[in-house]
């Protein structure tokens, strides 16, 4: 599955995807991690994740991106979902007004369950559906400015801005983290659950995994 080289990284960031059911969370994830898109992907039940590494400012950052179901019913059991998350993408569907209106609720959910320093990005997905657009780009921009979020419009279908969205949020997290390291602690992120390996790893504290382990496999 994942090649050994995938395990060499300087930082491992846990990022969660949230937003109403059907806005394209699972497809945004599969587009970013496997360059795949499917009009008939299955509904997400419970929690899933996928990973991908990118290089930013000379550092290799491994993103562990978590995906979950959007239905309200599941939220009771997904609060552990937010534990240790350092970034969140809130998605809405630019062709469905209601999914944009619900962004407020998702923000509240983050405030209730996630670390208060979590980096949040608002994502207007399905921007390929221009002919049935129901939320203008300006609405997205002004909402995000009001709430101090970064903002981008994407299309998982056409692979528009998908790389950009993830690399922007990962870079933003990286800058925040390295700044905090300079300041030595202070209001840092809460350490995530032990063993879940979704820590904000300080390469000085913990040596990165070595590719030398690959000598045993093939």
């Amino acid at each position: 599955m994942a090649g050994r080289s995938d395990d060499e990284y300087d930082y491992l960031f846990k990022v969660v995807l949230i937003g109403d059911s059907g806005v394209g969370k699972s497809n945004l994830l599969s587009r970013f991690t496997r360059n795949e898109f499917s009009l008939e992907s299955k509904t997400t039940i419970g929690v899933e994740f996928a990973t991908r590494s990118i290089v930013t400012e000379g550092k290799t950052i491994k993103a562990q991106i978590w995906d979950t179901a959007g239905q309200e019913r599941y939220r009771a059991i997904t609060s552990a979902y937010y534990r240790g998350a350092v970034g969140a993408l809130i998605l809405y569907d630019i062709a469905k007004k209601m999914t944009f209106e619900n962004v407020e609720r998702w923000l509240k959910e983050l405030r209730d369950h996630a670390d208060r320093n979590i980096v949040i990005m608002l994502v207007g997905n399905k921007c390929d559906l221009k002919h049935i657009r129901a939320v203008s780009e300006e609405e997205g921009t002004s909402f995000s400015e009001r709430n101090k979020l970064s903002f981008i419009e994407t299309s998982a279908l056409e692979a528009t801005n998908v790389e950009d969205a993830f690399s922007r949020i990962l870079t933003e997290i990286y800058r925040l983290v390295s700044q905090q390291q300079l300041e030595k602690g202070g209001t840092g992120f809460q350490p995530p659950a032990e063993g879940e390996k979704i820590t904000l790893k300080n390469p000085a504290d913990e040596p990165k995994k070595k590719s030398s382990s690959s000598c045993c496999s093939t």
Partner: protein, 457 residues
């Protein structure tokens, strides 16, 4: 690539709002449906061919003058040459096994359930089973449910499954003389429910929300299976789920129920299809050709009632915060600790919570983890077990996990999650699932009535 994506998007069912219908036609080759049906019954039909002295290949080559794009499927499987009615055989079925009081008898149990090593034994057993079952279903007075369960436990075939499922779920009465009337009444009552809920002119905002959620999920239901791309089939799923949700406000629609209704729709559509298929199967290429309106409705109503019966046995899976699932996940963990402590310890060491991977196993009753046709086979057993979906299923989950124990114990947290969210079961056969079922049966028999599984009921 663009164009293929575009045409894909045209096939997508767009939401339907009363008085405002946007429909997109889907063309489906109904031979493929028949082909799927045939594959699961392969063992039996191959045996029959051999008996009749027909080379199995000859059935596959298309006679001249026929559309060569359409392979001929031996839909009707001859059983006449195999009239064996062996009651003894039925009695050996595992369900009524005695309490095993020592190791020896536990092994014995396992052995009896194991699918024979020799394929010949298996086919013989399968065809024998089939004809006994056919005899039983054809019973003109009253069907003995226990006997039916013992036979169905071992797995059904396409011909016997629809009626057996209806009987096992208590949708059809065992008394033959009451069946027609019951069917008529149930179907009529479903028709009224559709009129009342689905065709209502003014939905409340809550009902609108239920409709929206179901509509978003329908195109994402069993996408690997062509049948579920068909517009009419998607509408059937949509109506069933909507009516069920409105009639059961304590749980309403919960994502994953769409997976649970699909086996019923598949099995009962196939029943209607086979009923009409006699004479002239080859010309039926469109949905309208393959089914009359009435037949589609029958399959829909039957699916609705069977789904209702199934969900009744697992109500607390879907009520608020899904306590039934949480309880079973906890039990699963305890149980794995008993039967495979090394695995449980490893998962614990890696900090993998059982909820993380087994939530879906329970919520979708494994529909997501194994190939569709095999799950239909697994459900044969679930329906034949006492508390199949509520208790036995948990043992099957444990067996599934234990099956991959060696691999799992070598993995770290991330590898575990990735592996468990996409189990390598794509190429599994009926044998593989029957092994799981035997294992689960053994455990269920040993641990049943002990404090452990008691509170699951």
């Amino acid at each position: 690539m663009e164009t293929s994506v575009e045409s894909e998007s045209r096939r997508r069912m767009v939401s339907k709002v009363p008085g405002h219908v946007r429909r997109i036609e889907v063309d489906v080759n109904w031979f493929e449906l028949a082909g799927i049906a045939d594959r699961s019954g392969k063992v039996a039909s191959y045996q029959c061919d051999a008996d009749a002295g027909i080379a199995s290949d000859s059935a596959k080559s298309a006679p001249e003058g026929l559309d060569d794009a359409a392979p001929i499927q031996p839909v009707q499987k001859p059983v006449t040459s195999l009239v064996v009615t062996d009651e003894e055989g039925a009695d050996q079925a595992p369900v009524q096994a005695q309490e095993p009081d020592d190791q020896e008898s536990q092994h014995e149990l396992g052995r009896r359930l194991e699918v024979g090593d020799s394929g010949a034994d298996h086919t013989e057993q399968a065809s024998e089973l089939k004809s006994t079952l056919a005899g039983l279903l054809g019973e003109e007075t009253t069907i003995e449910l226990d006997k039916l369960k013992r036979l169905a436990w071992k797995g059904l075939e396409d011909e016997t499954r629809p009626m057996t499922w209806k009987l096992l779920l208590n949708y059809l009465p065992v008394n033959a003389s009451r069946r027609e009337e019951t069917l008529y009444m149930k179907r009529t009552s479903y028709r009224h429910a559709v009129d009342q809920y689905w065709k209502a002119s003014d939905w409340s905002p809550d009902e609108e929300a239920v409709f929206r959620q179901i509509s978003v999920d329908i195109p994402r239901t069993c996408p690997d299976h062509k049948l579920f791309h068909v517009r009419q089939v998607q509408e059937i799923l949509q109506r069933i789920l909507f009516v069920w949700a409105l009639k059961h406000p304590a749980s309403g629609y919960v994502q994953g129920m769409n997976d649970l209704v699909s086996p019923f729709v598949y099995v009962f559509l196939l029943e209607q299809y086979e009923a009409k298929a006699e004479g002239g199967l080859l010309s039926r290429r469109s949905v309208e050709d393959a089914f009359s309106e009435e037949q589609l409705f029958y399959a829909e109503a039957d699916s609705y009632w069977c789904l209702t019966a199934l969900l009744e046995t697992i109500q607390d899976y879907f009520t608020f915060s899904q306590p039934g699932i949480q309880k079973r996940v906890a039990y699963l963990e305890d149980f794995v600790q008993r039967v495979d402590p090394a695995l449980r310890e490893h998962l614990q060491k890696e900090n993998l919570q059982f909820l993380q991977f087994s939530f879906r196993w329970l919520n979708c009753l494994l529909m997501r983890e194994l190939p569709f046709e095999l799950m239909v086979r697994v459900w044969d057993t679930y329906m034949s077990e006492p508390d199949g979906f509520a208790v036995f299923h948990v043992y099957v989950c444990a067996a599934l996990l234990a099956r991959f124990s060696d691999e799992l114990r070598e993995m770290d947290f991330q590898e575990l999650v990735m592996f468990l969210q996409n189990l390598p079961t794509k190429n599994w056969t009926r044998n593989d699932v029957e092994m799981l079922l035997s294992q689960a049966f053994m455990w269920r028999t040993i641990f049943d009535d002990k404090q452990f599984s008691k509170d699951l009921k």
